[in-house]
């Protein structure tokens, strides 16, 4: 499947997650966020940076990991990405949705 963000055509899965991280740009992330009704602040981008870092290190994401990250606390995380924070943040970051139950 394809979708166009910021005039760039990217590969996505049925849920709208990018299937190739190399296609991701900050502009695309901003567009995805808009679609999810999330306004990206500096703090939001810091979380995205953290997610990218974990993704590159091939480390699993979890809510406990967010708590330990030192980037945001859990309350803030829920405020920054309302309505399913890890699900939305990973979508904006252009990485796969986490498979963990925690």
């Amino acid at each position: 499947m394809y979708k166009t963000f910021a005039k760039i055509k990217v590969n996505v899965n049925e849920e709208g997650y990018l299937t190739d991280f190399n296609q991701w740009t900050k502009e695309i992330g901003t567009e995805i966020a808009k679609e999810q009704k999330i306004e990206m602040t500096d703090k939001n981008w810091k979380v995205i940076d953290y997610i990218h870092d974990k993704f590159k290190k091939e480390e699993a994401l979890s809510i406990r990991g967010i708590k330990k990250s030192g980037v945001v606390d859990i309350k803030e995380f829920y405020q920054l990405f309302p309505g399913g924070p890890l699900k939305k943040a990973t979508m904006i970051a252009g990485v796969p949705k986490p498979k963990s139950c925690i």
């Binding site: 699993a60 809510i63 406990r64 309350k75 829920y78 309505g83 399913g84 890890l86 699900k87 925690i102």
Partner: protein, 158 residues
């Protein structure tokens, strides 16, 4: 058929064995992670999970639990429960599952609301001070039902 989304999950936790407590916690946390509201009502033995002095000492049941695959007679031997619990906690740590106290903090910070059952609190002669601060209030089952009074709410008894 019209699609109906789950909007709120209400859990009643009545047991204190680790597997039951974690089942409630993981489902309640999972709901929040999906943007679904969640709340837990702790009653009867479930109250052990929110008692400051007890919450880190919950155990897995080795007697009357056929899935443990140890004979009931052996399961009752001194130290068996502690051993099984230790082994299970080790496996949980490997999966990055938080201990009970930390899990409650995560739940509360995630917006999962925690309630204690008034009848059970009275029955076990507990006071608000015996419970962790994250517990919002001690309420009746009627109060809890009132919290279910909206569409697409589900109640689950554990």
């Amino acid at each position: 058929m019209e699609k109906t989304k789950v909007r709120k999950m209400l859990f009643i936790l009545s047991k204190a064995t680790i597997e039951n407590v974690y089942a409630a916690f993981i489902m309640a946390n999972g709901a929040r992670m999906e943007g679904i509201e969640s709340e837990i009502f702790f009653t009867f033995f479930g109250l052990e999970a929110i008692q400051k002095k007890k919450l880190e000492h919950l155990r897995v049941a080795t007697v009357g639990n056929p899935a443990m695959h140890i004979p009931t007679m052996l399961g009752g031997l001194p130290g068996m429960e502690a051993l099984a619990t230790k082994m299970m906690k080790k496996e949980m740590e490997k999966l990055d599952m938080p201990p009970v106290g930390e899990f409650l903090e995560i739940l509360s910070d995630s917006g999962c609301r925690l309630w204690a059952c008034k009848l059970a609190v009275d029955m076990f002669h507990l006071k608000k001070e015996d419970l962790i601060d994250k517990v919002e209030d001690i309420i009746t089952i009627g109060d809890f039902y009132a919290r279910a009074d909206q569409e697409n709410t589900h109640l689950l008894f554990i």
